[in-house]
Amino acid sequence: MIIKRSILILAAVMIVAFLSPKSAHASPYEGYVYSYWGDAVKSPIAYLPSRTITGQEMGIGPLTTPTDMFAAPDGNLYILDSGNGRIVVLNSEWKAIRQYQGFDNNGKQDTFNKPEGIFVTGAGHIYVADTENRRVVVLDGSGALIREIGAPKSEVLSDKFEYIPRKVIVDKAGRIYVVARGVFDGIIEFDSEGDFTGFIGTNPVQFDPVDLFWKTVSTKEQREKMIRFVPIEFNNVDVDADGFIFTTTADKQTSIPVKRLNPSGIDVLRMNGDWGPIGDLTRNPSAFIDIDVSGNGVYRTLDSTRGRIFTYNEDGNLLYVVGQVGNQRGTFKNPIAIESFGNRIFALDRDLGMITEFTATKFGSLVNEANGLYSIGKHDDAAKIWEQVLRLDANYEMAYVGIGKSMLRKGEYKQAMTYLKLGSDREYYSKALTKYRREYMRENFGTYMTILIAFIAVVVAMRRGLRSRRGGMKQNAVSQGH
């Protein structure tokens, strides 16, 4: 009786335990990275949504089609509320501390008209790509107009040139770079005085071989009706601490959607493995619409196809993926801009007029920390943290490579080989093998040489023995014959 009852109780407890809902921290999206073989491998969630805010919650009325956002070095978040023609500044507690509705332009009240890009310099100057007014407006921290930069003037530009600035960035030297709609020559560069100096970083022309075939066989009249092959235009930019410009291209045909341009406009982005930073390796590729550079060469790209944020390190390795299109908190409807500050990522949703903040989980901060140490060459310190990362995710290839490289430096070649193989790094595996081979031969040279010499001696001795016996037999035969 007692046994029966205890079994019943046990069963009831088990049912309750199994039916109870999962932990409340379940994420609305899944974490994954791509393995060396191009398989999506599940990995722990690196960033979780921590809070969201809309215009109403800021107490300033809803945001209408916000288009861009900028996280200033002092922790303030500048939101470009395009539909309302205003800039909203949030402090790190997410209180709206300032608003710029318009500015005084030579005694006249002037406003923005559907601006699409914002950039704030270290000195607190606000650069706004005032798209429909076809100009870039520079304001100081108090909202007073410093300068207005209109369309570039030069003989190299055709008369039909239309200037529709979309995004603006400013490098440390004060040079202004503008991405404009319908401009295929690259990024428009102005000097710090606002004078046009040229284009940098033109994308190559891309075309479909099939189209090219039809174009070659068609008549001139037909050809004129066809679409022309033009270079792909950039759609977003960011600048890193060294003054290199990161650009994104949303065209789905392109194989290099992200570029890192040096001051002369040459792409110097590092690529690792067979795939560059292209987002999802699926048939329907990712379309990057924003890029954000954070410290240590890490950059994040925003994919509009699936609403995911891909984070890459400076070698082009995918660190983690955050976010997704959906209806839950932490997912997006139409993400338009991302920014990051410390261990937090902000994403701006255009349709919802909402900002979502993501905060690093334990896994995310470990990866960030390890990658930071790794990128400045402190491989041994990084290896200790990579080991903790591996404890959370045994499939994280970068961690194996990190530990492998550290062991290679320490002289543990055999161990290094194991780790580098697990991390699928052939180049460093080969380096470790070279060292291990040399070490192995040095230690065992004596043994092998002894065996070899002994072997040769035995062979020689046997041959001599055989020959002498055969010779003896021959002699016998000869003597018998006589």
Partner: protein
Amino acid sequence: MQFLKDIKYTLHVAFHPFDGFWDLKYENKGKLRVALAILLGVTVMMILKRQYSGYVVNFNYPLDLNSINELKYIVFPFLLWCVANWSLTTLMDGEGKFKEIVIATGYAMLPLILLYLPNLLLSNVITLREASFYYLLESVAALWFVWLMFIGTMTVHQYTVMKTIVTMLLTIVVMGVIIFLGLLFFSLIQQIVGFVYTIYQELSLRA
């Protein structure tokens, strides 16, 4: 002793193909079971190679490795080649019998074992810089194999050089045709089976 003799003769074919293939055809020195043993050996060799080549030169996705696949990639093409070659050469005045074609093709595959085995061992101790030696040996094995196939076909069918080359290329085309017909056949059979099954279903449901 017979076993040693067989080995000696296969090596003789590999190194002196003109002489070796002549003896194979006219002195009846070639043996079907040796040819099939070489085929088996090559299959095993390829399985080992995929699995145990050194990491530096091994680009096989571990989860995709399947020994049964080697049947698809080696035994099936081998049989297809023999059938296609025989079908073609009977129409093109070849003197070879089917058995001779199988034996000659089998013996011609020996270099694949001869070079792949040391190459497999070598691949485990080489680095990326020395990987070109590995690929060199790999190509040498392939060229040697093609060379032996060429001499084998020429001798077995008593062809001229040009005719041999044309026949070999045509054989590859015929292999394609056979595969195409095979697929067509199977797809037709599938249709017929489906049709019969539908009628059966219809009848059984109505009854």
